[in-house]
């Protein structure tokens, strides 16, 4: 195993801060102290004495032919060490998560604004940027294709990729395709392009290694899929591209694709010097995929009692210039397109298309967000049509354990949808809108002094979401955990080593909790995540506690088995033994010995590759199949005050009920629900990347607004724990469901306050004043 010549300052280190609790408790996160002191090492904090800085030239055009590139100005800039383009990519020229369709740097053509065209390494970041500015590219500008529906169906649309403009079309056909119903509601909905807007920009440090390989310190969601892609593009075997997870400043899907990984590695290998790249915020907006904007056409048919007879939907997801994970996003939108409801007859088609818009891929909620905005809007429409209460209509159609999904998959664990709806409905409401004694900051407009209550109308809305957990459709989804047990300074100590990315969600805490519980030891250290151990899979799809948690549990069980074998042999006992508080305990004879004594100088070091139960591919013509591992649910009730004259919204309360199967760390679960709800609030009332003619209009935090602490309401959270027998500890993935349900709940509340249809999110003031 080769190591880098030298590790950078602020390289990731083993986490040794002790934690206290086991599974089901809420110990403090072991990296918390480092983070509050400013000592936690993020990928942008890495530093080496002789390092260079990389910078990227990006296309100003969404679609253009490259006529020529003149690099001489950059080369002549003092302080510049190298300048590279597509021609310098040593290995495979293309990469991609599902389709290998994206060039490391543009070749002959650029397909989106912001596509990388050339890279520079220099001795100061500003020198690198100035050199980039001196590169002259002559473009033949082409008319961009910017509409997903057109991309798929217009016969005169330009073909952006060799295989055409369709990334994936997934039809779902279930039941009677010609069913009719007494009550029919139709709607057309639109969801704007949302950004993950993590705070830590894309960044990392590539260090050339003595063996001709590269050591890459990087913030990512999936080290091994990065490794595979980077190695291919560099023309190196995987073992010469070693990745170490540097501190990650949030992810939310945006770090599943490569950004600067190959670029920094190329520059490092060419110059023989470590190369650091840190994106600016603007560059970050161009440097990662976004949530697919969507256009959705829905028709619901129901009986007069409000029972769904059929659901028909056509959805268009704009994948932008490169496929990224569009195929899987299409599958989620389609298979979850009815929502957590029983519908006997389903006709859904979902298309994911290539356009010249910014590439879209993974973001928290992953296809389920767009569908939920539409189907929940439809359920409210249906309730209004029938004169039913919005909760009642949902309860009447609520799915449950045993429900057959539109894919034909029978739900085989808890799905307490009706109970969750009733529970959120029963939660206490916030006090009525303040009339005489109030704080301005608690009214719409807040410190902007827009009202003392005039024009303010309160509204309440509900939203419920369903999400698949883990990777679906037959994907070989696994995680690897290595657990090492030894006695250090007289104390039994477990070390957990995985490649699973901690991105802020608290996986390091959960790993330590599981090891403490399974091995009955006090001391657990967490090895930095890297590619020296097998893949942990992606930190996405709400899967890491399930998958890497499951792998750590399995590895601990294996270690425990070996330890107890040793104990039986050394202590000459038979029968059931277990571990508790650092002791070997017999079911019959109680405490037999200290774990440390039994283990002595021996080291037990085991690695386990752990898989969830297999799923299967969806039939390409009917969308039928056992495609999803697990379903997860969250329901929100939003209370809003809307200044209907001025179009301002204040979310007063955003309460949530979520079933998590088993809360491994209850406080962290609540933290996930808070954060997910906030991102959903952002999509409901402010967040959108504005794209016109393929160009992003607001690539900054000045213009792309995310919720501040003044925009967020207090949030009550009710966590249910109905175990899933198929999952470790019965747990259910947590991260995504609250992002899905909060958006439709808030928009429903705005509709309730205003009486407006509001078919699009985010909702802007002019959508409320009716003057858009």
């Amino acid at each position: 195993m080769s190591r880098p010549t030298k590790a950078p300052d602020k390289a990731p280190d083993r986490i040794t801060t002790p934690i206290t609790g086991g599974v089901g408790e809420s110990p403090l996160r072991p990296d918390g102290t480092l983070k509050v002191k400013g000592e936690f090492a993020y990928s942008s904090d890495l530093w080496m004495d002789d390092m260079l800085w990389g910078a990227t030239l990006r296309s100003p055009h969404p679609y253009a032919r490259i006529v020529s590139i003149d690099l001489s100005g950059a080369w002549q800039t003092p302080g510049v060490h190298t300048v590279m383009t597509y021609d310098d990519v040593p290995g495979e020229k293309l990469f991609g998560l599902e389709h290998t369709d994206q060039p490391v740097m543009a070749h002959e053509v650029v397909r989106y604004q912001g596509e990388a065209v050339a890279i520079v390494a220099a001795d100061h970041p500003e020198t690198a940027r100035r050199a980039v500015d001196k590169i002259v590219v002559e473009y033949e500008v082409l008319e961009p294709l910017t509409d997903a529906e057109e991309a798929v169906f217009a016969t005169d649309a330009p073909t952006l990729h060799p295989g055409g403009n369709l990334v994936r079309h997934l039809p779902i056909r279930r039941g009677d395709q010609h069913a009719t119903a007494d009550v029919v509601v139709r709607g057309e909905y639109e969801v704007g392009m949302q950004d993950q807007a993590f705070l830590g920009p894309e960044s990392g440090l590539a260090v050339p290694a003595e063996d001709g390989g590269v050591d890459l310190y990087i913030a990512t969601q999936w080290l091994h899929v990065d490794q595979k892609q980077v190695a291919k593009c560099l023309g190196l075997p995987n073992d010469k591209v070693r990745l170490m997870l540097a501190g990650v400043g949030g992810a939310f899907g945006a770090r599943e694709d490569l950004s600067m990984q190959v670029h920094a590695s190329m520059l490092a290998l060419r110059t023989g010097r470590p190369v650091k790249i840190v994106y600016s915020r603007e560059e970050s907006f161009f440097g990662h995929v976004h949530r697919h904007p969507a256009k959705l056409y829905y028709e619901h048919g129901a009986t007069r009692e409000g029972r769904l007879v059929y659901v028909k939907a056509r959805m268009f997801l704009d994948g932008g210039a490169y496929a990224s994970s569009t195929g899987a996003v299409v599958a989620n939108a389609a298979t979850l397109g009815v929502g957590p409801y029983e519908a006997p007859n389903v006709t859904i088609d979902c298309w994911g298309a290539y356009t010249n818009n910014p590439p879209c891929g993974a973001m928290r909620g992953f296809g389920a967000v767009q569908a939920a905005f539409a189907y929940e809007s439809q359920m409210d429409r249906l309730a209004a049509e029938l004169g039913l209460d919005p909760v009642e209509v949902r309860v009447r159609n609520a799915m449950a354990e045993g429900t057959t999904m539109p894919t034909g998959q029978v739900v085989d664990s808890a799905a307490p949808v009706a109970e969750m709806l009733r529970r959120v409905e029963a939660m206490p409401l916030p006090p009525a809108a303040p009339t005489d004694s109030y704080d301005l900051r608690e009214l719409p407009g807040g410190v902007s002094n827009t009202t003392h209550g005039e024009g303010v109308v309160r509204g309440i809305g509900y939203g419920i979401g369903i999400k698949n957990v883990c990777f679906s459709e037959g994907f070989d989804d696994f995680s690897t955990a290595r657990v090492r047990l030894e006695v250090i300074a007289g104390e039994p100590t477990a070390m957990v080593h995985t490649a699973a990315a901690e991105v802020g969600q608290g996986l390091v805490t959960v790993q330590a909790q599981i090891a403490r519980t399974e091995l009955g030891v006090e001391r657990v250290t967490i090895h930095p995540a890297d590619t020296q151990v097998g893949s942990g899979g992606s930190t996405s799809a709400s899967r890491q506690t399930y998958m890497t948690g499951g792998a750590v549990k399995a590895a601990c069980e294996k270690v425990r088995g070996l330890l107890l074998d040793i104990a039986r042999e050394r202590l000459h006992v038979e029968g059931q033994l277990h571990l508790d508080g650092g002791k070997i305990v017999s079911d019959r004879h109680g405490v037999l010995a200290d774990l440390a004594e039994v283990l002595g100088d021996e080291v037990i070091d085991e690695t386990v590759e752990w898989r969830h139960r297999p799923t299967e591919a969806l039939d390409p013509t009917t969308g039928q199949g056992f495609a999803h591992v697990q379903y997860a649910f969250a329901v929100h009730r939003a209370v809003v005050d809307v200044d209907v004259d001025l179009g301002l919204v204040r979310v007063v309360a955003l309460d949530c009920v979520q079933d998590v199967g088993k809360a491994i760390n209850p406080d962290a679960v609540v933290g996930q629900i808070h954060g997910g709800s906030a991102q959903g609030l952002g999509l409901a009332v402010m967040e959108e990347i504005q794209v016109r003619d393929g160009k992003i209009r607001n690539p900054s935090f000045t213009d792309y607004l995310i919720p501040t602490i003044l925009d967020m309401p207090p949030m009550k959270v009710d966590v249910l724990e109905l175990a899933d027998p198929h999952a470790p500890y019965g747990l259910r993935g947590v991260g995504e469901p609250p992002t899905i349900s909060s958006t439709p709940a808030i928009v429903a509340a705005i509709r309730a306050a205003t009486g407006l249809a509001i078919p699009r999110c985010p909702v802007r003031p002019e959508d409320i004043t009716g003057t858009a």
């Binding site: 100003p60 500003e126 940027r129 100035r130 603007e282 407009g445 807040g446 410190v447 902007s448 002094n449 827009t450 009202t451 003392h452 005039e454 024009g455 004259d645 001025l646 179009g647 301002l648 204040r650 402010m686 504005q690 016109r692 003619d693 209009r697 607001n698 690539p699 900054s700 000045t702 213009d703 607004l705 919720p707 501040t708 003044l710 925009d711 802007r764 003031p765 002019e766 004043t769 003057t771 858009a772």
Partner: protein, 324 residues
């Protein structure tokens, strides 16, 4: 970013001399605007003259009103400003974030550049940034752009909140320049874009704002700033309204109404003022003022909503101030 020199001035005269002497020299006050502009390339100075040490930080109440030093910090928290000039305190508080307010200066605030996407994004043509290149906003997303005072060459809006409040207070700026001192009403500080959008103010190169004077007026004490924006805090105005009112025995004796977020400079709504002056201050008058405030509006394809928002915001601002 082009390389530049940095120097610090210790007297107003040094500062004015340093900047006047060099066409590529610019002032640096709090830095919250200039540091960004330089980093992002909208400004490419040869020299920044830091005026942060100049003794222009005082807020003083005297017989002729309130004098605010061009470098005074957190003016909106000053008790006399809050008491005498509520519209200014509210406008100041509604701007930016606590951290930015801690260093931003009134002079710098008045001279901040537009937030028009197409000015800020140097990849686009912009007559304001690079004369003669064209106006991308006219054909682009112009939701945030002007409905008053624009031209075929530029439809940017001025982003300052306090400039709107100061306009409603009949405030003036005092300047020191190479040609001496002068006094300029805040409203007249700004030029409309016409066919020279790059000339944003009437200031000469090197002319430095040293103070703002707010005269004593019968309407200042009963004044209000209302700001509509896409987020509850830390966002620029879609539409803002500063009103200052002198109502005697139920009749509007005098009034000032200025609009923000809708024009290349703070926009005095004189027709709205006329609709109120000398009439009973009641719902009808307020509605008429709202209507009159939209006179002459020329909305762009994406900002028609601003016209209606102006109407409603003026009415609301007038009802809010009534309660004072």
């Amino acid at each position: 970013m082009k390389p530049f020199a940095y120097t610090r001035a210790h007297t107003v005269w040094d500062a004015v001399a340093a900047v006047s002497a060099e066409p590529g020299a610019r002032y640096l006050a709090g830095g919250t605007e200039m540091v960004n502009l330089v980093r992002e390339g909208q400004e490419s100075p040869d020299r920044l003259v830091d005026i942060g040490d100049l003794p222009l930080t005082e807020v003083r109440v005297h017989g002729r009103g309130v004098r605010i030093g061009a470098l005074a910090k957190r003016v909106h928290e000053h008790p006399e400003v809050r008491r005498r000039l509520p519209v200014l305190a509210e406008a100041g508080l509604s701007a930016a974030s606590p951290q930015v307010r801690n260093v931003a200066t009134p002079g710098g605030n008045l001279l901040q550049r537009t937030r028009c996407h197409y000015f800020r994004d140097v990849r686009f043509p912009c007559n304001r940034r690079e004369p003669g290149t064209g106006c991308a906003a006219l054909r682009g997303v112009n939701r945030n752009n002007a409905i008053f005072g624009g031209s075929e060459h530029c439809v940017a809006v001025h982003p300052s909140d306090i400039a709107v409040a100061l306009t409603a207070l009949d405030a003036v700026v005092h300047t020191h320049g190479p040609a001496g001192e002068r006094v300029i009403p805040v409203e007249e500080l700004y030029r409309l874009p016409g066919d020279e959008p790059n000339r944003e103010t009437v200031l000469d190169h090197g002319e430095l704002i040293v103070a703002i004077d707010v005269p004593p007026t019968p309407f200042a004490a009963r004044s209000h700033y209302l700001k509509l924006r896409d987020r509850a805090s830390f966002a620029f105005a879609l539409v803002s309204v500063a009103v200052a009112l002198d109502v005697r025995a139920g009749v509007t004796h005098d009034v000032r109404i200025a609009l923000g977020g809708v024009a290349p400079r703070p926009w005095r709504a004189r027709a709205a003022e006329d609709a109120l002056r000398g009439r009973r201050f009641d719902d009808d008058a307020r509605a008429a003022a709202g209507e009159a405030a939209t006179t002459g509006a020329k909305p762009l394809p994406h900002n028609e909503f601003k016209v209606e928002l102006v109407r409603r915001a003026v009415v609301r601002a007038l009802s809010e101030v009534e309660g004072r």
